[in-house]
């Protein structure tokens, strides 16, 4: 029995450690590159992954420190917002004039969509007319009668 004690102790330790290990395996591991892509260097006002400054390096060190603590990506982002403010996420504030940063793209997409809705049917009709052999609209003569007469005269003179 005495010989079995160390083995039993080892098995007990493994059994106790098992849930912790599986829990760690289940939690998504935060990736530094993944987070660096999504945050701003708040002092340089550029995305962190392209920022070159001492402050950017400090921010990178902080992210690595938080990852080393075992925090998930969302927890790291939350901590950065708590420490450095919402600007760290790079989202423009939605107050005052800044609201245009959201409204202008939405308006532009809406405007282009409206333009397409209004003009596409006409383009399609014209395209179908061309395929039917009717050709483009001939409501108005492209050559005036006077020009036509002059053309006929020129052709007759050339042939003559």
């Amino acid at each position: 029995m005495r010989r079995l004690r160390p083995v039993l102790a080892l098995l007990a330790a493994l059994w106790l450690a098992a849930p912790t290990t599986s829990a760690l395996a289940a939690a998504p591991r935060a990736s530094f590159n993944d987070i660096e892509d999504e945050v701003m260097c708040v002092t340089c006002n550029v995305p962190l992954h392209i920022a070159v400054s001492a402050q950017a390096d400090e921010e990178r060190t902080e992210i690595k420190r938080l990852i080393a603590q075992g925090l998930t990506k969302q927890q790291v982002l939350d901590q950065l917002v708590a420490d450095l403010g919402p600007r760290v996420l790079g989202d423009p504030p939605s107050d005052g004039f800044n609201v245009t940063t959201w409204l202008v793209p939405v308006g532009a997409i809406g405007g282009v969509a409206l333009l397409l809705v209004l003009t596409l049917p006409r383009w399609r009709r014209r395209s179908e007319d061309d395929h039917d052999g009717r050709g483009p609209s001939t409501d108005e003569p492209s050559v005036s009668p006077a020009d036509m007469r002059r053309l006929d005269e020129d052709l007759a003179a050339t042939e003559g």
């Binding site: 402050q55 420490d83 403010g85 004039f97």
Partner: protein, 184 residues
């Protein structure tokens, strides 16, 4: 929509976007109103004085207006800022004098700084004055700030009597505090 209307609408939209851009650039520019007023000897009220900001030590919120009735030196700083390190002893010397005669205090405002590092900076330089965290840089913008460090000296009525957009010296701070004390 008539065929001829499309270019007109596109032109109007383009003109509106250009106008929006010009307006945006104009209002986002640095506000020098405060600097001009102070340089002309006026004593404008400190902008953003009522903004409540969280204290760095986590003991609630405070604003510039809370210090009305005393001389207040507002100093914007960050632990990553070299000139802030250089002027830190000047600030603490001034704070010791203000504490000794009970006429006022310095209020630090940290700018885009990790709190853990701000606290370490305070300890390193033995700051005995409070600091707040300007997380949304609202006070920074209200004061027309352009960088760190910056210092504003307010009299007991909350009016700006002196300001420095950059590192300060003992001479500047002593004179500014004397002016604030003499201000009625």
């Amino acid at each position: 929509m008539k065929r001829s209307a499309v270019p007109s609408v596109a032109l109007v939209v383009a003109a509106a976007l250009v106008a929006l851009l010009v307006y945006g650039v104009a209002i986002k520019g640095t506000d020098t109103t405060l600097d001009e007023a102070v340089s002309k000897g006026r004593r404008p009220a400190a902008p953003g004085a009522t903004l409540k900001l969280p204290r760095l030590d986590g003991t609630g919120q405070t604003s510039i207006a809370d210090y009305r009735g005393k001389v207040l030196v507002v100093n914007i700083w960050a632990s990553w800022c070299g000139p802030c390190e250089d002027e830190a002893p000047t600030l603490q010397r001034a704070q010791a004098k203000l504490e000794a005669d009970g006429t006022g205090t310095i209020l630090g405002v940290t700018n885009t700084d990790i709190p853990r590092k701000s606290v370490a900076f305070e300890r390193k330089y033995g700051f005995t004055f409070p600091s707040v965290r300007d997380l949304d840089v609202k006070l920074y913008r209200a004061l027309g700030s352009t960088g760190v460090p910056e210092t504003l000296v307010l009299d007991a009525k909350g009016r700006v009597v002196a300001l420095s957009r950059g590192q300060i010296s003992d001479t500047f701070l002593d004179r500014a505090i004397a002016r604030a004390k003499a201000s009625t």
